[in-house]
């Protein structure tokens, strides 16, 4: 028996090895490097100087940053909130329609991925452009004045971010809604709950795993947004991603860019830890709570 167990452990190791190597080489080591570079001085030619310094950490206290960090967080939070707000009724509907129609609707949700992300963002730029179709249409409808700018502001960034991230919210929430037992809604109504009450106190808790996944799937990529604010945003809607790019390509200050990146990595850890703590709480034996 022990003779058989050994080769089994060995093959198991062999099978899991590639993913460990992959993770180690392409994720763990680069992350450690990024954190390490933060503590190196920059050299005037855009490279990394010798020795160790806390200089970069101090510059992170630059009064410019809190505004950008704050904007990054609230833009991402707003994107996540609005995506979930839009995706939840959509998923509810998706899980209730006939399987045929559902197939087509799901196809429509995934359809945007057939076009390159960059092309889609540029398409938005065309749409929102001062001479673009959308602008003309809205002016013609007297909904906006001719000198309102649709492009290069936080609104445009938010719009395109929601557009981009929405499928990532719909899919996990739909997956949860599809597994939801809708007889529970009937049970809630039977016990006197109106439709809204049944939705809030039975449906939402029922799909909470999907909601948490959607939160992570939208919030974390949003924090690292770079292309969208770069293309449709302006100087007033810069996010951390843009600052990192600027430090890398314009200022050629790698330690500085690494410092910002490290900060972002830590910032991403916060919601992840929070969500996994929430999940653990859900699976733990219930504690005694009052009325």
């Amino acid at each position: 028996m022990s003779g058989r167990a050994k080769p089994r452990a060995w093959t198991e190791w062999l099978v899991t090895m590639p993913s460990f190597v992959w993770l180690g080489l392409l994720f763990i080591i680069p992350t450690v490097l990024v954190f390490a570079i933060t503590f190196r001085p920059s050299d005037p030619y855009g490279g990394i100087g010798a020795g160790w310094t806390l200089e970069t950490l101090k510059t992170l206290g630059n009064p410019n940053y809190p505004a950008i960090v704050w904007r990054t967080i609230w833009m991402s939070a707003l994107t996540t909130g609005l995506c979930i707000l839009l995706a939840t009724p959509m998923s509810y509907y998706l899980s209730r329609v006939s399987p045929r129609l559902r197939q087509w609707l799901l196809l429509l949700v995934i359809l945007p991925f057939w076009t390159s992300f960059l092309v889609r963002v540029f398409a938005w730029k065309v749409l929102l452009h001062p001479d673009g179709f959308l602008k003309h249409a809205l002016v013609w409808l007297h909904l906006i004045s001719p000198d309102t700018s649709l492009l290069y502001n936080a609104g445009a960034v938010l719009l395109v971010m929601i557009y981009t991230e929405l499928p990532f919210a719909i899919l996990p929430i739909y997956a949860a809604a599809e597994k939801f037992d809708y007889r529970l809604i009937e049970a809630a109504k039977d016990l006197g709950a109106g439709s809204f009450r049944a939705f809030v106190s039975v449906f939402l808790p029922g799909i909470r795993v999907g909601l948490l996944t959607a939160f992570l799937m939208v919030f974390i990529p949003s924090l690292g947004s770079y292309v969208i604010p770069d293309i449709v945003g302006g100087p007033t809607s810069e996010m951390i991603g843009n600052k990192i790019a600027q430090r890398t390509f314009v200022d050629r200050n790698l330690p500085h860019a690494a410092g910002l990146s490290a900060f972002l990595s830590v910032a991403v850890l916060v919601p992840m830890v929070a969500v996994s703590a929430l999940r653990r709480k859900n699976t733990r034996a219930p504690n005694e709570e009052g009325v």
């Binding site: 529970l184 809630a188 808790p205």
Partner: protein
């Protein structure tokens, strides 16, 4: 006084399927009323219309004199126990039971009091903080009952509440349900395909088929006096004979002139294929020449080796024993008489050591009184299928739901 709960000419169609076909029935306050029928007979549709999850195409539903047809489910004073219990998985048992009271915005003190009273009723005080997936099926059932009863509904609707439980548990829950009905004193509307459950619990039963009420009555009425061949086959076990009504039985022939010429119209002769003519009580005054089913319950038949004494209105047939099953308290026999395979149940009373039991292959006499048979009109061709079913396919013991598939077959 008007009835407590009334369905007035309620119809509901799903496409071409008539789930409810002009159903009218009324339920008394405090009654344990069952809707019994095979799956697809429309019993669940009636319940869902009462709960408010479906609305009838036509007709009204009245509860305590109030028309509730157009009232949404959350405003109806009825509560349902769902087949799968539908307990909220994210809430503790305590919170599940409190759900309705919280929605109704009862005071915290009131909620605590009533929930704890319910937990005591179902004897689950010590498990109040468990989640539904941490308890057994029977416990879920009890929590579902508590969650519904705590709202003090006018009517408690039970949708096949025992279907998901195993036999042992089902029998225990039957007794518990009966107890709870006695204690709560509210009207129960029970939907089931299991005649055993319906018979043992109900004050009255409505047997349903294809969206219509086939017969409504007490369990005894339905068992002892089925109105149609479907009811006779669905409730309990029965033997069917396919026959034609002949002339009424001439009493003179039997009483040999003791009385003046009396033709007793209550008994008719039946001509049945290659069997000797049989006699049957004809309370419905079915006319001569009509095709009917004669239904005789297995326990009404006597079986003996010796030819029984000839008496008025007693039918006798001679056949061969094909099967014998000894069941302790009773023995089941199957006797071949012509093209019929007749099922007989004999209840054992006294055991004689020297008794020679009737065995396979023996020639026997079967007899029964004409009063114990029913002439049931053949009102549709579907009933022909009932005849082709071997008697044993139509319900072995009262607890098993065996008749359901048989009856479904009969409808197709």
């Amino acid at each position: 006084m008007s009835e407590f709960l009334e369905f007035v000419d309620v119809s509901k169609n799903y496409g071409a399927i008539k789930a409810s076909d002009h159903v009218s029935l009324s339920v008394k306050q405090g009654e344990f009323f069952s809707l019994l029928g095979p799956s697809g007979c429309g019993k669940t549709t009636l319940l869902r219309m009462l709960a408010g999850f479906e609305s009838p195409d036509s007709g009204r539903i009245l509860l305590d004199g109030q028309d509730i047809t157009d009232i949404p489910p959350y405003q109806r004073k009825v509560n349902t126990i769902f087949q799968n219990y539908a307990l909220f998985p994210h809430l503790s048992l305590w919170d599940n039971i409190a759900f309705g009271l919280r929605v109704a915005k009862c005071s915290k003190k009131d909620i605590k009091e009533r929930v704890e009273k319910m937990l005591a009723l179902i004897q689950m005080e010590d498990q109040a903080w468990k989640k539904p997936d941490q308890i057994s099926g029977g416990q879920k059932q009890r929590v579902a009952i508590a969650r519904a009863l705590v709202n003090q509904p006018r009517v408690l609707l039970l949708d096949e509440p025992l279907a998901a439980l195993d036999l042992k548990l089902r029998q225990r829950m039957l007794i518990e349900l009966d107890l709870i009905h006695d204690q709560a004193g509210i009207t129960f509307l029970y939907v089931t395909h299991d005649q055993g459950e319906a018979m043992s619990l109900s004050d009255r039963i409505a047997v349903m088929r294809s969206g219509r009420v086939e017969q409504l009555g007490t369990p005894a009425q339905i068992y002892e006096a089925p109105r149609t061949s479907f009811v006779a086959a669905f409730i309990g076990d029965t033997n069917f004979f396919d026959g034609t009504v002949a002339e009424p039985v001439d009493q003179r022939a039997i009483l040999r002139g003791m009385l003046p010429a009396v033709v007793d119209k209550d008994y008719s002769r039946l001509v049945i294929g290659d069997l000797p003519d049989l006699e049957c009580f004809n309370d419905k005054q079915i006319k001569q020449g009509e095709h009917v089913f004669l239904s005789v319950r297995p326990e009404k038949l006597s079986i003996s080796r010796e030819e029984p004494e000839r008496r008025p209105h007693v039918n006798m047939l001679r056949g061969t024993v094909e099967d014998v099953i000894y069941l302790g308290s009773q023995t089941k026999y199957w006797v071949r008489v012509g093209e019929y395979r007749i099922s007989i149940v004999r209840q054992h009373t006294r055991f004689f050591l020297d008794e020679k039991p009737i065995k396979w292959g023996e020639e026997v006499w079967i007899s029964w009184h004409a009063d114990d048979g029913f002439m049931l009109e053949k009102y549709s061709e579907q009933d022909e299928n009932l005849l082709r079913l071997p008697p044993e396919a139509v319900g072995e013991t009262p607890v098993e739901p065996a008749p359901a598939p048989a009856a479904e077959e009969a409808r197709t």
